[in-house]
């Protein structure tokens, strides 16, 4: 029996009817996910990225048994997604961003107790478990207040621990930090890291905050229009796009000798150079796929200029995702096969 979530050629086609005039309807099909294969191992955060409408939420709903795939198959720890749906439900849970998905008339404690009953969580020690979960997200003092009195952040924190009530092996996190303030989002990231590293849980994360994905995910799948565009570690994905690294050098002035030295670096390496006057002096930006910071610094120093500031900037994951999502963009050199 294989460990982890393994999906092969997962496809979801939504079919709907659109009214045309009074009596005529036209059947329409939308392929939300198209032959997606991925795996979510335990003990690791796996990212699922893409622009809006890429098929991320549909994928999560299929893997959590809420949606039936139109084609393809998936298993969770060897259990078949369709045949063993009820056994899978005991192993998974979902955390989505936003204030919904908890009962506002119930207290925080009652919400957790309610869902614990639905999951038939072992009654022995349940009270302590609920207390500990509430404490872990700073809701111990508000445990017995109705949720309608909670702030947005508190509701979302409650949502997070609700997703942990059945001690799931795999957690689907769909935009979990949406709208959270910075300290709470940071706490959530710490919690996610702890859950994977210490408790061995597998997490499938979708988020629009790419810095968060970059920080948490060991492996990322990029989907666009329901299809897998690329996969790999954040570093792999950044390499997949021919986005340039940048070396930014701030100089007090730009003597002719430095200019010549920089032109020589550009001629040898094929780098592009921009010179821009700024209040402090001149900002020189050198763009190239490889890191030229050493060569640029050396050339400037040999030409006798003093460097006020030097920055070497990697392409961000955000740039890589945008490039990957932009079908047909020439700088995308490698896609998932």
């Amino acid at each position: 029996m294989g460990r982890g979530i393994i999906a092969e050629e997962l496809t979801k086609v939504y079919s709907s009817q659109r009214r045309q005039g009074w009596f005529r309807t036209v059947r329409e099909e939308k392929r939300a996910v198209d032959g997606l294969s991925l795996s979510v191992p335990p003990g690791r955060v796996t990212g699922l990225l893409g622009l809006n409408g890429a098929g991320k939420t549909t994928t999560i709903k299929m893997l959590s048994t809420l949606l039936l795939p139109t084609a393809g198959r998936a298993e969770v720890d060897g259990l078949d997604l369709v045949r063993d749906a009820n056994a899978i439900r005991r192993k998974v849970n979902m955390i989505a961003g936003g204030e919904r998905m908890v009962y506002w008339r119930l207290t925080g404690r009652e919400n957790l107790w309610y869902f614990a009953q639905l999951y038939d969580v072992e009654p022995r020690g349940l009270k302590e478990r609920i207390d500990s979960l509430l404490r872990s997200v700073g809701l111990a003092d508000a445990a017995d207040k109705p949720v309608e009195q909670y702030s947005k952040g508190m509701k979302q924190r409650l949502q997070i621990v609700r997703g942990l009530i059945n001690d799931p092996t795999y957690i689907f996190m769909d935009e979990p930090t949406l709208g959270l303030d910075v300290p709470v989002a940071r706490e959530l990231r710490q919690t996610v890291r702890r859950l994977t590293a210490e408790e061995g849980k597998g997490v499938l994360l979708t988020s629009h905050y790419l810095a968060e994905v970059e920080e948490l995910c060991a492996y990322i799948y990029v989907v666009n229009g329901g299809r897998l565009e690329a996969q790999g570690s954040p570093a792999d994905l950044k390499r997949l796009t021919r986005r340039d690294r940048q070396v930014k050098v701030l100089l007090a002035e730009l003597p002719a000798a430095v200019n010549t030295a920089l032109d020589a670096v550009a001629a040898e390496s094929g780098a592009r150079i921009e010179r821009q006057p700024v209040p402090e002096g001149v900002l020189v930006t050198v763009r190239h796929q490889s890191d030229l910071s050493g060569r640029v610094a050396g050339a400037v120093a040999l030409a006798g200029a003093s460097i006020l500031k030097l920055e070497a900037l990697e392409p961000t994951l955000e740039e890589a995702i945008l490039a990957l999502a932009d079908v047909g963009k020439p700088e995308v050199i490698s896609r998932a096969g």
């Binding site: 039936l68 439900r89 005991r90 849970n93 998905m101 009962y103 008339r105 309610y114 639905l118 038939d120």
Partner: protein, 281 residues
């Protein structure tokens, strides 16, 4: 065998407890309960009573409708009618409210859990019933004690009357829940099940006053037979042996409703999983 039974029953019991708590928090002491399930049926009761009262002495009326032989029996006829109606109507409202959980995202989470779907709809109905009807039940009992005129063959018939109301109501609730939660367009039932159910079930007029076709249609509502049992046991001194065919019919109708609920749940969930209609966001 008992161990297996306990293992099977435990998750059901826990789902029931969870739903009862939820219904308690949502309904208990709310204005909704006071107005929709106490004041409104109370006003209806008064309207029906004072609307009929002037005709009490009409020639030949008592022969066709023995309950109107005196003001007290007429009042008890309407009280039992409104009590039964409150039971069944509260379940229509509970099912309608349950369907709103789709918009709040909680229905999706409930269906993400391994909880028995049948336990959920039964528990939701039963929980709502207890939370919604205790007030009017107390009101009706108080009124009856005040007015007097109960005609019981045996005190045990109180239990028979209550069970004859409760069991079909829970089955009715399960059926409605399974109907409402998977359909975006079932809101029209809210209207259909209000006044037509009251009319066809004989809440304010005796079923024998209706045309045969309407009487036959009324039999589809368990409330019709529940009211016959309730009034027979409380007002007409009927015994268990008098009422057993009706009770048997109620039992069969309840079984059919639960069976339909199971079918609808299976079909509805399968459809929602294909179409993605479990949530509306």
């Amino acid at each position: 065998m008992p161990v297996r039974l306990v293992a099977w029953w435990r998750p059901w019991r826990r789902v029931m407890a969870a739903e009862v708590l939820k219904q308690h928090r949502i309904l208990f002491g709310t204005r909704f309960i006071y107005f929709s399930l106490l004041v409104w049926p109370g006003v209806n009761l008064a309207t029906a009573y004072y609307g009929f009262k002037p005709f009490l002495g009409a020639a030949g009326l008592a022969q066709r409708w023995p309950s109107v032989s005196d003001p007290r029996t007429l009042f008890l006829f309407f009280t039992t009618g409104m009590l039964g109606y409150t039971f069944f109507w509260s379940l229509v409202q509970a099912a309608w409210q349950f369907s709103w959980e789709r918009f709040h995202g909680t229905l999706e989470l409930v269906f993400l859990s391994p909880a028995s779907r049948m336990a959920l709809v039964l528990a939701n109905g039963a929980g709502a019933l207890v939370q919604s009807t205790w007030l009017f039940l107390a009101f009706a009992c108080g009124l009856t004690a005040l007015v007097g005129g109960l005609n019981l063959a045996h005190p045990g018939m109180l239990v028979v009357a209550f069970v004859g109301l409760l069991v079909p109501a829970v089955a009715w609730g399960a059926f409605l829940n399974s109907l409402f939660i998977f359909s975006r367009d079932s809101g029209f039932l809210y209207t259909i099940l209000d006044e037509p159910m009251a009319l066809l079930s004989g809440v304010r007029i005796p079923p024998q006053a209706l045309p045969a076709l309407a009487r036959a249609a009324g039999m589809a509502f368990p409330l019709s037979t529940s009211l016959i049992v309730l009034r027979g046991a409380l007002l007409e001194a009927r015994t268990l042996s008098d009422l057993w065919p009706r009770l048997l019919f109620l039992l069969a109708l309840s079984a059919v409703l639960v069976g339909l609920a199971a079918m609808l749940l299976r079909w509805g969930e399968a459809h929602a999983k294909r179409s993605g209609s479990l949530t509306l966001f």
